[in-house]
Amino acid sequence: MPKPAGALELVASQTQPIALQAELACAPGELLALVGPSGSGKSTLLRCIAGLHSPQQGRIACGGVTWYDAQRGINLPPQARRVGFVFQNYSLFPHLSAEGNVVCALGHLPAAQRAGRARELLAMTHLKGLETRKPAQLSGGQQQRVALARALARDPAVLLLDEPFSAVDQVTRRRLQVELARLRGDVKIPIVLVTHDLDEARMLADRMTLLSHGSTLQSGTPDDILTRPSTAQIARLVELNNVFGGTLESVNANGGGILCWRSHKFEIARANGFAPGTRVSWVVPPEDVILHRRDRPSLGERENPVGGRVDDCLHLGDATRIVLALEGDARARITFSVPTHVVRRNGVATGEQVRVSLLASGIHLMPAEAEKPG
């Protein structure tokens, strides 16, 4: 992997207190989302980078400076690592004003310049006029901005954000996410965002690394991971639940092929290098499952059609989530979402028979899973 100047690189492994087997890289100006379920070790990795936790084995370097190297016995303290850390609950100093909080992180400047620089940073994070307020007198969103200003104050070599949007309401969250997206243009350092929210990662990140039980499973663009997971396990972690087993029957000259699944034969657009005859797992993202209209047939109906009975039909505001029990196999279920008005117009309800198309371009093949009936 090319290593641009200023990049953050981490390799860490340990067996205690939680198992870690992680590898990640983040280029300057890039936002890397570290995504995984609770307890997957996301925060521990951030703490490793900041110097608050030392893995048993590994190496951490940023901007060409080695911060940690277990083999060479290098372990810089947090004070020497130049990290900007926004903690999950912000961890502001409760006895200090917003300005005082930021001034604490400006120790590298001459004393006379600190107050001025702190006010600049607070203005940049939209807190002008609130400099003298104590954290308890600020809203959750304002506290998060103080924490961000404090993290940036140190002129950090890397910015670490530990679930920074989890403690605020939905409206504030959206606003802060937009602010972070804007801020990125001005900050030319690696930014690592820990989140368990896949939508947040998709919206903000250039790249994401998926973590489960302390191991990094896949790194890539959010689009790559969320539509083309490399294993069935990753597919389920990113909430792609339409995972099945099948056999690749043939591969055509364009790289596409025919996938056998039960009595069905599906056209697929990409065989992903699998040889004909290989047992594979396959996944189809919900957005690539198209509901057929009852009144009027459409062109898409010829593409991988399957029929079934609606097993569950759950209205979630504008969208309705449908679980379809497929014909011929009581266990096989496909989940997809359609706009609620489409559901109403087509009279889709639990128990009704409907037909759908699985788009050839959406079907993604992965190595076969052991012991998983499709």
Binding site: P77, P78, V83, F87, L92, A105, G107, A136
Partner: protein, 222 residues
């Protein structure tokens, strides 16, 4: 009313509080970095003066301070003074008897500081020493104030240990609590009332001060 005893008590209480609280701070800081087992043992020793009858504590201190003891002889060789029945001995006994009143509030105050506040300080570039001065001490100060006030007022009221180690020597070891006892023995109720009232006032003022300090420091980080 025995104003010499009052002055002596104030002097003893002031000296005990001012000497003991910095020592307690150092002990709490040192313990925070020790393994749990070592901390448990020290916690037991620290709490011992709370439950030990003052006369028992006083008796052992008298034994340890006596002219025949190593400590007593060493102190005499160093200063030419005795530890028993002198103000010096009284102060040393008072320091020991008050350890829990100084250590426990400080310990609780430091334990209440979220670990992440210190981590945020380190990540902001503050050294351990700067973190102590700028973050931990300001957050722990109601506890430190409580330690000062409790040690001061408790020393004013200490009776058993003081009587055992210091005896009852006017201008040297007779404290206000002993003077109150003397007044009652001598049927001088007026003096006993006056001196008791002073102790009540000082105690109420002390508790009010702790209460005020606890209320007026923004500890919430919500």
């Amino acid at each position: 009313m025995d104003s010499a005893a009052l002055l002596l008590s104030l002097k003893l209480a002031g000296a005990t509080a001012l000497l003991l609280v910095p020592l307690a701070l150092m002990l709490v800081r040192a313990l925070s970095r020790r393994p749990l087992a070592a901390r448990g043992l020290v916690d037991i020793l620290v709490a011992l003066p709370l439950v030990l009858p003052p006369t028992v504590l006083g008796f052992y201190l008298l034994t340890v301070f006596g002219g025949q003891s190593t400590l007593g002889q060493w102190y005499a060789a160093l200063t030419g003074r005795q530890l028993v029945f002198t103000f010096d001995g009284l102060l040393l006994a008072s320091l020991i008897a008050n350890i829990p009143f100084a250590v426990q509030p400080i310990q609780r105050a430091f334990a209440a500081i979220p670990r992440e506040a210190c981590e945020a300080a380190w990540c902001s570039g503050l050294s351990n020493w700067q973190t102590l001065l700028r973050i931990e001490l300001p957050l722990a100060w109601p506890g430190i104030l409580a330690a000062l006030v409790l040690t001061f007022t408790h020393t004013l009221g200490e009776f058993g240990v003081v009587l055992m180690v210091g005896g009852n020597i006017a201008d040297e070891t007779r404290t206000i609590s002993i003077a109150i006892y003397d007044s009652v023995q001598a049927f001088d109720d007026r003096a006993a009332h006056a001196m008791s009232a002073i102790l009540v006032l000082l105690s109420v003022a002390g508790i009010a001060l702790i209460h005020w300090a606890t209320q007026h420091i923004g500890r919430k980080d919500a």
